[in-house]
C-alpha cells in the first residue's frame, strides 16, 4: 500500500476524515493545509492583524502555534502572531506547562505575554482551592477567570483576535455535555468557529454610551471603539481530530506538557470523552458528525439562554467588561470568594488590578526576524 497523496511514501496512518492512507510527509502537509483552508473559508484573519494565540503548553496549543507559524510563512498570511498565556497559580502543574510555552516562544521567535491570576484577581488557584474546599469543583472559577485574563492579555498586546486550540473532539464533547445536562443554550456558541464579535451597530452604540458614564471605563472611551470582553475568539482546529493533533506533535517531536490538571475532577466531561472514544472505535466519523449536527441546530428564541442573548448585553457595573448581568461572572465569583475567605486578606479592587496589569510595560522582545 502506497501513500494516496504522493503515490510513493510509506503509509503510516489512515486519515480520520476519509480513511485515506498517507505517508508521514503528506500527513503533516495535508494537516497544515486543511487548517489553512478552514481559516480562509471562514475568513478568520486579516492581513497585518495582531493575532493572539492562547498558549497553555498542552498538545493543542503547542500544535496550533506550530501550524499557524508554518502556514503564516508558507502562504504569506502576514499575521503578527503573539502568544498569551495565563498563570492560574497551580503549583506542580501550570508552572511546568508554562516552561513549555516559554520554550516555544523562543523556538518560533514569538513574543509571549503571561497574565497571572494572582496579579489580576488577588488569588492563585491554589489559594482559591483553600477557600472553596477540596470537595467542590474549582473549574468554574478557573474558566471564568481565565477568559477574563485572556481578554486582558489581548488588550495588553493590542490583539484584535485570539486563536484557541479547541479541536473537533473538544467541541463534540462539549456538545454532548450540553445535551446531557439539558444546557442547550450554549450549543450554538460551542460550535461556532468564530465567536464574540457579532454585535449589532445599535448594541455597539448603546455599549459605547454606557462606557462614557462608567467610572472604570471612561478613561478608555477615546482609545477604543469596543468595550472590554468582546475580543473575537476563533478555533482554527474546529475540524481537526484530536488523534491527528497528537500524531502531528508526535511526529514533529514538538515539546508539550501532558499532565492532567491537579484540580481536574472526575468530571462530567470524562463521561462524554469515554463515550466518544468507544464510539469512534466503531465509526471514526462520529466526532465530525456531532460537530456538524451542532452547527446546524438553531434554538427557538424562547429556549435561548440569557447568556447567549446578545441583545441584553451591558457593561458590568463594577469592572466594565461586557456582561449579561448587572455584575459579570468574574466579579460575582470574586465577591463570593472574599465572603468565604476567613482570612479576608484585602478588599480586592479588580478595576485597579486590571488597569495595573494593562499598564505594566511589556518585556523587551528579542527580534529574531521570525
Amino acid at each position: 500500500m502506497k501513500c494516496a497523496v504522493c503515490g510513493t511514501g510509506r503509509v503510516i496512518l489512515k486519515r480520520m476524515k476519509n480513511q485515506e492512507p498517507v505517508c508521514k510527509e503528506c500527513f503533516l502537509r495535508c494537516f497544515e493545509d486543511e487548517v489553512y483552508e478552514a481559516i480562509v473559508q471562514s475568513n478568520l484573519f486579516k492581513k497585518k492583524e495582531i493575532v493572539a494565540i492562547g498558549a497553555s503548553g498542552g498538545k493543542d496549543s503547542t500544535c496550533l502555534i506550530h501550524v499557524l507559524h508554518t502556514i503564516n510563512q508558507r502562504y504569506q498570511m502576514e499575521l503578527d502572531l503573539r502568544l498569551v498565556a495565563v498563570d492560574e497559580g497551580i503549583a506542580g502543574y501550570r508552572n511546568h506547562s508554562l516552561n513549555c510555552v516559554e520554550e516555544n516562544a523562543k523556538i518560533y521567535g514569538l513574543p509571549l505575554t503571561i497574565i497571572s491570576f494572582k496579579e489580576l484577581f488577588g488569588y492563585t488557584m491554589d489559594e482559591i482551592n483553600a477557600v472553596v474546599g477540596e470537595k467542590k469543583s474549582k473549574c468554574t472559577h478557573c474558566g471564568v477567570f481565565r477568559r477574563k485574563a485572556l481578554d486582558i492579555g489581548c488588550e495588553k498586546i493590542g490583539a484584535e483576535i485570539i486563536a484557541l486550540g479547541h479541536n473537533a473532539d473538544d467541541i463534540a464533547e462539549t456538545v454532548l455535555m450540553n445535551l446531557f445536562r439539558g444546557d442547550v443554550g450554549r450549543l450554538e456558541r460551542t460550535c461556532e468557529i468564530r465567536s464574540g464579535s457579532d454585535i449589532t451597530p445599535d448594541l455597539l452604540t448603546k455599549l459605547q454610551e454606557e462606557m462614557k458614564s462608567h467610572p472604570a471605563m471612561v478613561e478608555y472611551v477615546d482609545q477604543r471603539q469596543y468595550p472590554f470582553g468582546l475580543t473575537p475568539k476563533v478555533k482554527p482546529f474546529k475540524y481537526a481530530y484530536q488523534r491527528e493533533i497528537v500524531l502531528y506533535v508526535h511526529y514533529l517531536q514538538l515539546k508539550y506538557f501532558s499532565v492532567e490538571c491537579t484540580y481536574a475532577p472526575v468530571s462530567f466531561r470524562g463521561y462524554a470523552r469515554q463515550f466518544l472514544l468507544k464510539s469512534q472505535a466503531i465509526d471514526s466519523s462520529i466526532i465530525m458528525n456531532i460537530v456538524h449536527s451542532g452547527e446546524r441546530m438553531k434554538l427557538m428564541p424562547q429556549f435561548a439562554n440569557r447568556a447567549g442573548d446578545k441583545s441584553i448585553m451591558k457593561l458590568c457595573t463594577r469592572c466594565g467588561f461586557v456582561s449579561s448581568q448587572h455584575l459579570c461572572q468574574s466579579c460575582l465569583l470574586l465577591d463570593q470568594l472574599i465572603r468565604d475567605d476567613p482570612a479576608h486578606p484585602q478588599n480586592i479592587d479588580c478595576i485597579a488590578r486590571s488597569a495595573h496589569v494593562l499598564s505594566n510595560p511589556l518585556p523587551d522582545i528579542e527580534d529574531t526576524g521570525g
Binding site: 500500500m1 510509506r10 503509509v11 503510516i12 496512518l13 489512515k14 492512507p21 508521514k24 497553555s56 503548553g57 498542552g58 498538545k59 493543542d60 496549543s61 486550540g165 484530536q242 488523534r243 497528537v246 500524531l247 508526535h250 511526529y251 501532558s258 499532565v259 492532567e260 490538571c261 481536574a264 470523552r273 469515554q274 472514544l277 468507544k278 469512534q280 472505535a281
Partner: protein
Amino acid sequence: MKLTLTLHAGLESLFNQQKKLELALDDSITPVSLIPWIRDNLLSGDPKQQLVVDDAIRPGILYMINDADWTLVDADSPLNDGDEIALISTIHGG
C-alpha cells in the same frame, strides 16, 4: 526478538516513569499478542486497566509500530527484531 517500547504523553506514569524500555520477547509475538504481554509482564494493579481493555489497547491510546498505526500492519504476523513500538495517550487536557 528485541523490541523498543517508548511511552508518551503521560503513559510513562503507568511504567514507573520509564519513557523507554528494551524488551526481549518470544519470536512468535504479534502486534495483537504484544498488548496482553505488556499488561501481564510490565504492569501491575490499576495501570493494567488504564492501558488494556479486553486484551486490546484502550480506546484513546495510539499504538504505533515503526511510526505507523498498528492497524496498518498484519496483526497476526510476528513482529520483527528491532521494531519500535510507541504508545501515546491522546486523553489529557491542555
